[in-house]
């Protein structure tokens, strides 16, 4: 039915299996090199700290949610989804005052429109943002790599068809495309993730394809082909590992972009549904209370900002650190 789902759903797992083995051998070399470079670059290091912290918070939140059913949240803070005493609605952060009352220490960042603790919801919102950011990027990366590699390696009509299709997908502004996609298939988070992943396919497709086209003519690839190595193996053993550095940079930046898009989708009501805490949806709910309780609108936005900044400076740092390889 839809071109989009067919490519990503069917091809991605397949592609990953193929690349798993040989990719890792080369990638580990690339990875060690990368880590060394990142350690020397201050910006990249700060980016790593932020991304590391956010990932840790997200993993913790997921653990508490899936395994412990918010036991830790309730013990230390509050349950981010329910609030038994709905009296303290829209309290400001501690030390501030609004028309609903004076901020209290138990709710350091105040409460939302249903009296839930904002700090708790902001922390637990990390889970959705990071999951979606990483998985959507993985879908885009997988789909884009397969399409780009096949397209670039075989050329000819295969290339033409694949490039026309991705070009068309790219021609619909991606937020609109994801909204249309989610309207057709479902409004929940899974489809938000797949939809955002699909919009990332052209980005990786373009990157991988241009790499493949240039590497295809290299001597060692020619040699492998002359020696009778299968096309598939040439692509996955030689060409893709060689694109490690630029893909890593792009993927890092793409996680940030995906988090922004998904926040936008949640803001419009597509994505994580209440009462699950997600930043975009918190901001959406806050719209009705901007005048009486403006701080409600502030903190989820700052959480998004910090997370995305983390990925952006990590990506920029990686770019700088890996530059000699990228320019090769």
């Amino acid at each position: 039915m839809s071109i989009n789902s067919a490519t990503s759903d069917d091809d991605t797992p397949d592609g990953d299996d193929e690349s798993g083995g040989p990719d890792e051998v080369e990638a580990r070399v690339g990875l060690r090199y990368t880590l060394k470079q990142v350690r020397q670059d201050t910006t990249a290091r700060i980016g790593t700290y932020i991304v590391g912290l956010m990932t840790f918070v997200a993993v913790f939140a997921a653990f508490d949610y899936y395994i412990l059913d918010y036991a830790i949240a309730e013990a230390v803070l509050y349950n981010p989804e329910t609030d038994p005493d709905q009296v303290r609605r829209l309290l400001p952060p501690v030390g501030m005052e609004n028309q609903f009352g004076q901020g209290v220490l138990e709710h350091p960042l105040g409460t939302d429109h249903r009296g839930r603790d904002l700090l708790s919801r902001t922390i637990y919102g990390t889970r959705i943002a990071m999951t979606v950011g990483f998985l959507a990027t993985a879908i885009g990366l997988g789909g884009g790599t397969v399409i780009g590699a096949v397209s670039g390696y075989y050329g000819g009509w295969i290339d033409d068809v694949l490039q026309r299709v991705t070009e068309t997908i790219y021609a619909i502004p991606f937020l609109v495309l994801v909204i249309a996609f989610m309207t057709a298939f479902g409004r929940d988070l899974t489809f938000a993730m797949i939809g955002v992943g699909i919009t990332a396919i052209p980005v990786f497709n373009r990157l991988i394809r241009s790499r493949v086209v240039s590497i295809r003519e290299e001597d060692y690839v020619e040699a492998a082909r002359a020696a009778g190595v299968k096309d598939r193996n040439i692509i996955f053993r030689h060409i893709i590992p060689n694109s490690f550095a630029p893909v890593l940079v792009q993927a890092t930046l793409q996680v940030g972009v995906s988090i922004l898009i998904v926040a936008g989708l949640s803001f419009l009501g597509f994505g994580a549904q209440p009462p699950t805490p997600s930043w975009g949806q918190m901001l959406s709910a806050s719209r009705g209370y901007m005048l009486p309780a403006p701080t409600f609108s502030i903190f989820p936005g700052i959480a998004i900002l910090i997370t995305v900044i983390g990925f952006n400076i990590l990506g920029d740092g990686l770019q700088d650190a890996l530059d000699p390889r990228i320019n090769n």
Binding site: T168, P173, A180, T183, A263, G264, L283, S286, V308, N312
Partner: protein
């Protein structure tokens, strides 16, 4: 080949992409669960009423027939009927598109006007305080959701300071009679600018940040170019070198980024219109989706695609106009 023929050919080349967009949106829209007729008439409508409606909107025919009917309709400028508004889709779009275009154009104007000097200064004073400030501003700009910027702007500038209105938009060409508190066209214009200011910044900030980053790196490259060394060695004043010799070459990647930014900005327009309650294309598509108005969903998505494609072609043409190395012969 002349610029005119190049332009025509670029538009001709875009036709398959547009057909692709129509196809994708048509099948996506038909995938939507639920029945628009049901939404329209309530859960237990009379049978003949349902059939009449179905026949009127062509829903009684098989899907491939509807696809080709729709496609040929699009070719002749007929985008069908909006069930929700009970008006031709094209009419609704014509009503809303100018609003979104106005918003987009002002956002890009704001972005370009601020980003280019910022990027140039940043490149010229690389690793000096001015550069650090500009880099931090643009980093925050690319990392902030546009709708959140909108919310913060409303809270600060509309609610607290009361400098700008929090919602709505007045079109600059609106009839003064239709605009409250405006007796002359000049006052309409003033109100329009007043309303436009905050949404423009909310939507334009991301573009501004992206253009600044590219402008900076492109100018840094260009300022290290051999042609800049040559100009220096021939006594060309430094200000001329920055403004002319280095600047013109450096704008080529900037134009490419502006073209790519259109897609983000069109998506951003949907969010910005939601935040500021502006009745543009963004709100139209959300209304269409919430009411399962097939033809309106298809029509608005298609128009978003067309706006993007036209925008990209325009940036391509600008690029080819500025870069003499682009020949109009091949691709």
């Amino acid at each position: 080949m002349s610029l005119l023929r190049y332009t025509l050919r670029r538009f001709a080349q875009a036709i398959p992409v547009l057909i692709g967009i129509v196809t994708i949106t048509f099948f996506l829209a038909n995938q939507i669960p639920g029945d628009p007729v049901e939404i329209m008439l309530g859960p237990t409508p009379a049978q003949e009423q349902v059939e009449a409606i179905r026949a009127r909107y062509g829903l009684d025919r098989p899907i491939y027939v509807r696809y080709f009917t729709y496609l040929s309709g699009v070719a002749t400028g007929d985008l069908g009927l909006s069930i929700y508004y009970d008006r031709p889709v094209l009419e609704m779009i014509m009503l809303r598109l100018p609003v979104t275009l106005l918003l987009m154009l002002s956002a890009f104007a704001f972005a370009i006007v601020t980003a280019i000097p910022l990027g140039v200064i940043s490149a010229k004073r690389r690793n000096e305080p001015a550069d650090h400030v500009s880099r931090i501003v643009s980093l925050i700009g690319v990392s902030t959701p546009s709708f959140w910027i909108g919310l913060v702007l409303i809270i600060v500038f509309a609610f607290y300071l009361g400098w700008f209105p929090a919602r709505g938009l007045v079109l600059p060409w609106a009839n003064p009679a239709d605009v409250r508190g405006a007796a002359t066209q000049l006052e309409v214009l003033r109100q329009s600018a007043h309303h436009l200011f905050l949404p423009m910044i909310a939507l334009g900030t991301l573009q501004m940040a992206q253009i600044t980053r590219i402008e900076r790196s492109s100018m840094v490259d260009s300022l290290q170019g051999e042609y800049v060394k040559l100009a220096r060695a021939y006594g060309v004043p430094e200000s001329t070198i920055v403004r002319k010799h280095a600047f013109q070459v450096a704008q080529l990647p900037v134009i490419t980024i502006i073209g790519l930014g259109l897609s983000t900005a069109l998506g951003g327009a949907v969010l910005t219109e939601t935040v500021f309650e502006i009745q543009g294309m963004g709100r139209l598509i959300i209304t269409a989706i919430n009411n399962q108005d097939y033809e309106l969903i298809m029509g608005t998505t298609l128009v978003f695609g067309v706006v993007y494609v036209v925008g990209v072609i325009l940036t391509d043409i600008t690029y080819s106009y500025l870069d003499p190395r682009v020949t109009y012969g091949e691709d």
